[in-house]
Symmetry: C2
Subunit: 267 residues, 2 copies
């Protein structure tokens, strides 16, 4: 049997990455772990996020994964470098792909980033952008209300639009912004609402979509592509929390209907 790719997130948000990985790389097998019980990571202390992330990684390493995708911006910002240095497999975060896609997309050279408080406070996107393109302009704003909204499952309500409008009000004050990075993997779940609010001037980039592209690139360069075209393995989804939000999202939104879903406990 070929080795799977592991995907971790603090909750359901990383399903946006899993969806894109499965769409762009249908031959690969994926194992997903969402730590919904302890979600959100975005406002937790750094030591806690590091400990929780390692617990998820150690759980998935038992499945002999060939590559690890940190489908959580907060965990990428705080733990990616440590994981890269300590794991014997390639580790991919969601921040660099989003930053690269923004550099590719922007014509005005002014990029906005939204994310959790921890991600924005870490300035991880600014660092990634500036490391590649020193003269780029950035505006980063935390949207702490988005993750609880999405995890609650109530994001179709009128209240959701009000929260999005209020949170993205800052865009109106910067006429040169032409690109917005959704710096949290939960946010693509409300991407159409975000696009409606920011209007056609701003290209909205999902780090989930771009991470799929980057995983594909690295599978080539590490010679890790799934070679067997006959077997198709559906994703296996594990969560430390309740199953119902996963159940609904995987069936209604993510076309991951045949994925298995199971509750687990992390020690």
């Amino acid at each position: 049997m070929e080795r799977p790719i592991g995907v971790i997130d603090s909750g359901v948000g990383g399903l946006t990455v899993l969806h894109e990985l499965k769409r762009q790389l249908p031959k690969e097998q994926f194992i997903y772990l969402g730590d919904t019980l302890r979600c959100p990571y975005g406002s937790k202390g750094e030591e806690e996020v590091i400990q929780y992330t390692w617990e998820m990684v150690n759980y998935l390493m038992k499945f002999d994964i060939k590559m690890l995708v940190i489908a959580c911006n907060t965990a990428t910002a705080l733990v990616l470098e440590q994981l890269k240095q300590n794991l014997p497999i390639p580790v991919i975060g969601v921040i660099e792909p989003g930053a690269r896609a923004a550099i590719k997309a922007t014509q005005s050279n002014h990029v906005a980033i939204i994310g959790t408080e921890n991600t924005i406070h870490s300035q991880a996107y600014e660092h990634a952008l500036i490391r590649i393109k020193p003269n780029i302009d950035t505006t980063a704003v935390a949207c702490p209300k988005f993750v609880p909204l999405i995890e609650s499952g109530n994001f179709v309500l009128e209240e959701a639009k009000e929260i999005v409008e209020e949170s993205l009000e800052f865009i109106n004050h910067y006429p040169t912004i032409d690109t917005l990075i959704l710096g949290c993997t939960h946010y693509p779940i409300i991407q159409s609402l975000i696009e409606e609010v920011v209007g056609p001037r701003v290209t909205v980039l999902s780090s989930a979509v771009e991470t799929g592209f980057e995983v594909s690139t690295l599978l080539t360069f590490y010679n890790l592509y799934h070679a067997n075209t006959e077997e198709i393995h559906e994703p296996a989804i594990f969560t430390t929390g309740k199953l119902h939000v996963f159940q609904r999202l995987k069936e209604d939104i993510f076309q991951l209907k045949n994925a298995s879903l199971k509750h687990i406990t992390l020690s």
Copy 2:
């Protein structure tokens, strides 16, 4: 001094890749070699293309390049695997990035590819697409008139539009095609004309733009980013042919105004 990235092409077409590399990775230094004297490679014999490509590579290796970009679809199709196996540095072709971008972009799952006769005959794009996504539909058509048109510099004429319309007529017979890969690095020079002819139904993807993204990814994973933010090195361009088309393109189209340009001879 930091090590440069080498870029090779059969002629001026790879300047579209160089332009994107410089735009997306402004801190890096690039050395470009276009074998204009022996262009086009697209209708040459395989042994000739292999020999010419190695002559270019050996020339650039003297500059201690840290990465090699094969900015020519024909050379990628015929020589990439050989170069990857024999060079001590990462080698990136333009076919995989274009294929991956098409998989990311297509919603209908039907992708068209245009390129030189050699590239289309090699089926390199179909192989790259199917290896990643076995159920994708592809339609590939050679456009042998495009490269001579572009290298002649007469691509603003009315005749150019007629050639493009005639060459892309096949698109009209396939209503499910929603994505077109420009499978030759010369073609982005006439991209706006191509987009006008195929209309808004079809997303036109330049493998040049996507290769920039892929080079950026690999610089991260091989820890090869240019670390010094102070020095800015303009690209150095070498050609085996006449300087005037390079001169005009680098100044008028490619915003590579400050690049140096020099004629060289390959033995």
